[in-house]
């Protein structure tokens, strides 16, 4: 009996697929619009891929999304309007940079909180350990130090 176990992510990088992105037939004639399109692609996710942006994916759906994005640009939409158009249809999942809202507050605050907490802890740690005058040596320690120093010369 041949039994093939469902193979999970076989090796770490199997998840990565050959990437490509924009294809020649998609490119707009207007270089200004095209460069706006390229910049937007970097910030939008291909919704059927494993963490690939539209700029990297060769999935058919990613191609469709790139074409929609360009159609909207040609129609005169601003960048924000194009993004809103795609979010309306595919959900906020397409945004590689999530919007700031209650559910993502912790995400956006985390780096600052981590830095602040770390800096505060470090400040307290260093301040608590103000250099104290060295404790006077006991006579036998004085002796040991002298012996050491003389031995070294």
């Amino acid at each position: 009996m041949i039994r093939i176990r469902p193979i999970l992510a076989a090796a770490a990088l199997v998840l990565a697929a050959p990437a490509a992105g924009v294809e020649p037939d998609e490119i707009l004639d207007d270089p200004a619009l095209e460069s706006r399109a390229r910049a937007l692609e970097e910030t939008l996710r291909c919704v059927v891929c494993q963490s690939q942006s539209l700029a990297e994916s060769n999935a058919p759906l990613a191609k469709d999304m790139r074409l929609i994005l360009r159609e909207r640009l040609v129609a005169g939409d601003t960048d924000e309007e194009v993004v809103a158009y795609l979010v309306d249809r595919y959900g906020e999942y397409v945004l590689l940079k999530p919007r700031v809202k209650p559910a993502t507050l912790a995400l956006w605050a985390a780096p600052f909180l981590a830095l602040l907490a770390g800096a505060a802890a470090a400040f307290l740690y260093v301040r608590r350990r103000k250099p104290a005058p060295p404790a006077p040596l006991k006579p036998e320690e004085e002796e040991a130090v002298r012996a050491l120093l003389e031995g070294r010369e």
Partner: protein, 663 residues
């Protein structure tokens, strides 16, 4: 027969590891040398047995024994021999076996150090290694047995994913695991220190080489993975903040913080609790990296349920390792009280700032990577956290850390002379300023960001050079004397300077690709020319070829810039067994960057879709990572102060310690 031997050896190794932990813990408690010797023999036996198991699986792969399920699923008789062998670890079970082998290697190496390490510390650390090995081998035996048979044997195998049939990716897992698993030793030392309630400069000096070795291997492993992604995936990028990449980056950040803070423990007898916590964190993040990538949970929370047996086992091990070590930490960290005093301007304070930044960076990557998972579980909503987020929040922290690194490395322990520091850093600062001005005038795009980044790289590299120049008294002495002094410098100091220099080189590469990459995508027929970064690139010919296990279209491009001419070959391969396509990019390094061409499909008959890139400074990425790893290796070969002197220094009064010159 051979696979059965391998299976038996794996079970034997499990038994040995199972005995190793309790035996050594008991030996530490009762101070029983005979029991300890038994525990050490268990570690050697586990090493021999796992080695035998690994050799058995490799033999099955090389011989294409398709009666072994694992070989059938991941190999093929037509595959080149080298990839038959490296395919041993190109799958879940095999890579777990490689993990276990490396763990056993570290265990054996640690067992050999019995004489160089205080007995109770050695026993507790090696015992902890035994516990880790036992958990791992149990996971393999009960859920991921690589030796499972498949009868009757199919005539041929299902082949290895063609993307993995590549030398960069064949070497990536061994180095990555040498790094991941290497952090198990500092972890074990940390747990041992907590149990015995003592971590001192002797402890730090013993841990440091292991931490540096793991860090250097991990640096090489990550760089190899990134290099592979660059030339094999055909999109010209090198890092995508993909969860899989982040999983390897987090232990690297924690490990980087560890190798810096361990110096403070060694020199100043402070930050002991924090250093043990970092050692625990580095290995715990390695475990999370290995396991969560394997379980598929990073892709989607729902993938976890596909194989619940493995998933639950993974969670149990993670819980035991992370939870157990943190519990010990919570109970015992109080016993690791520091003795040193800290001046605000000193090497140790700079290292604390370094640790704050690295820990914040690590926390940022952690939260960004797992946040979609949290939100999915909590609200069912699906969100993405991708490169735009990470670039925005990670980059400033990294820039701060780099800016600080140049100055911190030049500061003296205890009390730094800030005026002397400014004098020594002045040339680096001036060079950075000049570099920024040049970029601002010459560069075409992203001027401000580019000027800032290049200045930062020059500043850091200049700081590293100033460090070395100051140590050898380069100016104001005969050149011969300076060269002699360079050879006589402590290797830890040279290693640190080299690693910082490597980081600067690396950052220059990242800035170059990130800010000044140029790209041209178009359809090309034979004889057509395209232009990128001043190069005229002509598609000279496309022909069909066959490889050992693939069919390919091979395109020859002729590139010309002024009088310079070069040829690039790019292939589009089709592997019939898996029905998969791959791209082999054509890359030429020259003129401060890579000319990169990747052949696409000729879908309509009107020409091939061709991607052309010019990636400025991209080679700096790998050279920089290589230099950093080399710096780590150099530092680890420095055994520090001789044990006798260190012990005497620790026992004597603070005044005696203060008499030592800053290093």
């Amino acid at each position: 027969m051979i696979p059965e031997i391998g299976h038996f050896a794996l079970a034997l190794a499990f038994a040995a590891a199972l005995a190793q932990g309790p035996a050594l813990y008991a030996a530490a408690r009762a101070d029983d040398e005979r029991l300890a010797a038994f525990g050490r023999r268990c570690a050697y036996l586990a090493l021999g047995a796992v080695g035998l198991a690994f050799a058995s699986l490799a033999a099955a792969y090389v011989a294409s024994d398709f009666s072994v399920l694992n070989v059938y699923e991941n190999s093929h008789s037509q595959k080149p021999l080298i990839y038959k062998f490296t395919g041993t670890w190109g799958n879940h079970e095999g890579s777990m076996l490689l993990w276990a082998l490396i763990l056993a290697l570290y265990g054996g190496a640690l067992a050999r150090q019995a004489r160089a390490i205080p007995a109770d510390l050695h026993r507790l650390a090696l015992g902890t290694q035994g516990l880790i090995a036992a958990a791992f081998l149990a996971f393999m035996l009960f859920t991921s047995n690589p030796f499972e048979r498949l009868l009757p044997a199919p005539p041929d195998g299902a082949d290895l994913n063609p993307l993995l049939q590549d030398i960069g990716l064949a070497l990536h897992p061994p180095f990555l695991y040498l790094g991941y698993v290497g952090f198990s030793v500092p972890f074990s030392f940390a747990v041992a220190a907590l149990i015995r309630g003592r971590a001192d400069s002797v402890w730090a000096r013993l841990v440091r080489p292991w931490a540096l070795a793991a860090w250097s291997f991990l640096t090489v492993g990550i760089a190899l993975g990134s290099w592979w992604a660059y030339y094999e995936l055909g999109w010209g990028g090198w890092w995508a903040w993909d969860p899989v990449e982040n999983a390897s980056f987090m232990p690297w950040l924690a490990g980087t913080a560890l190798i810096h803070s361990i110096r403070v423990v060694e020199r100043r007898d402070a930050l002991k609790g924090w250093a043990t916590l970092l050692a625990i964190a580095a290995f715990s993040l390695s475990l999370i990296g290995t396991f969560l990538v394997r379980s598929g949970v990073l892709t989607s929370i729902h993938a976890f349920a596909v194989d619940p047996e493995r998933g639950v086992f993974i969670l149990a091990i993670l819980f035991a390792a992370v939870g157990g070590s943190l519990t010990v930490y919570a109970l015992r960290a109080g016993s690791l009280a520091p003795t040193g005093a800290f001046a605000p301007a000193s090497r140790e304070t700079a290292l604390i700032a370094n640790n704050v930044l690295l820990a914040a960076a690590c926390a940022t990557v952690f939260i960004g990577t797992f946040y979609p998972l949290f939100v999915d579980v909590a609200t069912g909503e699906r969100i993405s956290v991708g490169p735009p987020y990470f670039n925005m929040v990670f980059t400033p922290i990294a820039a701060l850390a780099m800016a600080l690194a140049a100055a911190g490395a030049l500061m003296a322990w205890k009390r730094a002379d800030l005026r002397a520091l400014a004098r020594r850093l002045a040339p680096a600062g001036a060079a950075a300023l000049v570099a920024a001005l040049i970029v601002a005038v010459v560069a075409e795009r992203e001027k401000a960001a580019g000027a800032g980044w290049v200045a930062l790289c020059v500043w850091l590299a200049g700081g590293a050079l100033a460090d070395l120049a100051g140590r050898v008294k380069l100016f104001g002495a005969a050149p011969g004397a300076a060269a002699r002094r360079l050879a006589g410098l402590p290797r830890a100091a040279v290693g640190a300077a080299l690693a910082h220099f490597g980081l600067a080189v690396f950052a220059l590469g990242a800035a170059g690709v990130g800010l000044w990459r140029t790209e041209e995508v178009r359809l090309m027929k034979e004889g057509d020319a395209a232009h990128v970064a001043g190069y005229a690139v002509m598609l000279a010919s496309v022909e069909n070829t066959t490889g050992p296990n693939y069919l390919a279209e091979r395109a020859r491009f002729e590139a010309r810039k002024g009088a310079r001419e070069t040829t690039l070959i790019s292939e589009r391969r089709y592997y019939p067994v898996r029905g998969m396509q791959t791209t082999e990019a054509g890359i030429r390094s020259q003129g401060g960057g890579d000319l990169y061409v990747s052949l696409g499909e000729n879908a309509t008959g009107e020409g091939w879709a061709v991607r052309l890139y010019f990636n400025p400074f991209v080679g700096c990425l790998w050279w920089g990572a290589g230099l950093a790893a080399l710096g780590g290796a150099l530092a680890l070969s420095d055994r520090g102060r001789a044990p006798a002197r260190a012990a005497r220094g620790a026992a004597a009064s603070p005044r005696a310690a203060a008499a030592e010159a800053p290093a």
